[in-house]
């Protein structure tokens, strides 16, 4: 093989490498284009997902509006009664304001493990003996001033004299934990 043939062969090899390089470059460009198209598709899918989520949010907000409003309205009342002591003070405040005669009183904070939202309740029993109107006014005020109070039982009977009545009230005041993680009830 002479020098001219070797030079031609080198040129042919250079041509081949240029062709190979161009082809590789094109392949790489094509692969990147596919990747870009895939990324654009993912972006569109993501945008659709966002739109769907936004619509769901709107619907959820609309459906839960009343419940959320209800919770918001009650939040100040709940925040006012966070401990057994606060609940007891509120209750005794009503008793003092009305100046009724309390024969017996018993308060106890009970745990409620099955309910995270209301983990504790102040349970109490009051035996009152006073004038009919005073006692009923007191009860009305109790239920009005502590709207979360649940009167579980109330027995009214004749007092020591004709004007008096004797009332035994068992009640519960919930100590609500607004920060609790409430679980969806199992169906």
């Amino acid at each position: 093989m002479n020098g001219k043939k070797i030079a031609s062969l080198i040129l042919v090899m250079i041509i081949a490498s240029i062709a190979y390089g161009s082809q590789m470059m094109q392949k790489k460009s094509s692969a990147m284009r596919t990747e870009a198209t895939q990324a654009a598709d993912d972006c569109n899918a993501s945008a659709d997902k966002r739109k769907f989520a936004a619509t769901k949010l709107q619907n959820t907000e609309f459906n839960c509006k009343e419940f959320r409003g209800f919770l918001k309205r009650w939040t100040p009342v709940i925040q006012h009664l966070q401990t057994g002591q606060e609940a007891e003070q509120a209750l005794m405040g009503v008793v003092r304001n009305n100046g009724i005669v309390v024969l017996s009183q018993k308060f106890e904070v009970k745990d409620n493990r099955s309910n995270n939202f209301i983990p504790k309740t102040l349970q109490g029993t009051l035996i009152i003996q006073d004038e009919y109107s005073k006692v009923l006014n007191w009860m009305g005020e109790l239920e009005k001033k502590i709207p979360l109070v649940r009167v579980n039982s109330c027995r009214i009977k004749q007092g020591e004299n004709g004007r008096q009545i004797n009332m035994e009230v068992h009640f519960e005041i919930p100590l609500v934990n607004l920060e609790a993680e409430v679980e969806q009830p199992k169906k």
Binding site: G3, S8, I14, M32, S46, L57, W74
Partner: protein, 183 residues
């Protein structure tokens, strides 16, 4: 001068190579052509590559942004649902806190002065706290007094279910379950 030099100026080159075939003349032409075409294609591919790369990065950034926004929205939905669950629990409680005082006042007022009220009790149902078991004992009263009590209770939007009366001597015992009527 020798005869050899006079008759042939060309010096014999016994060591020189033979000419290449004519087809080999295409090799340099092909070389230049491939150089031009290769450069064009490479530049074109590179530009496309860069554009695609940019487009991919933009799309990825947008996807990340959209996903972030979606996660934020989903977190909002979860929070709203949690609030709803709390509100439902509160509603359940509040349903069982309906005031008893107006009922006791209404029952007392429904009984005429000549009839005396012996005892009155309200027991809230443990399973359904919205229901109240009312029991009243009246002395020297009759069925018309029971009717008055029922009317008084119904005026407060309560419905009396499963009413029972029993008379023992002068006493008339009346028991019923009061259920709140929403409408």
């Amino acid at each position: 001068m020798s005869a050899y030099v006079t008759h042939d100026f060309k010096t014999p080159r016994p060591d020189g190579s033979r000419r290449l075939p004519r087809t080999f003349m295409l090799v340099p032409i092909l070389f230049y052509l491939s150089l031009v075409a290769g450069s064009y294609l490479s530049i074109n591919s590179y530009v496309n590559y860069r554009e695609s790369c940019k487009s991919r990065d933009n799309s990825k950034a947008q996807t990340a942004e959209q996903d972030g926004a979606t996660s934020h929205i989903e977190a909002d939905i979860a929070n709203i649902n949690k609030e709803k669950l709390k509100a439902e629990k509160l509603v359940q409680w509040v349903e069982g806190t309906r005031m008893i005082q107006p009922i006791s006042v209404a029952v007392t007022r429904a009984i005429p002065p000549e009839v005396s009220l012996g005892e009155m009790s309200f027991e809230r149902s443990v399973d359904i706290p919205a229901q109240i078991n009312l029991s009243v004992r009246i002395n020297s009263g009759g069925m018309e007094d029971i009717g008055r009590i029922q009317t008084a209770v119904e005026s407060l939007k309560y419905h009396a279910y499963n009413s029972q009366q029993s008379k023992t001597g002068d006493f008339l015992d009346y028991r019923t379950i009061l259920v709140w009527q929403q409408n």
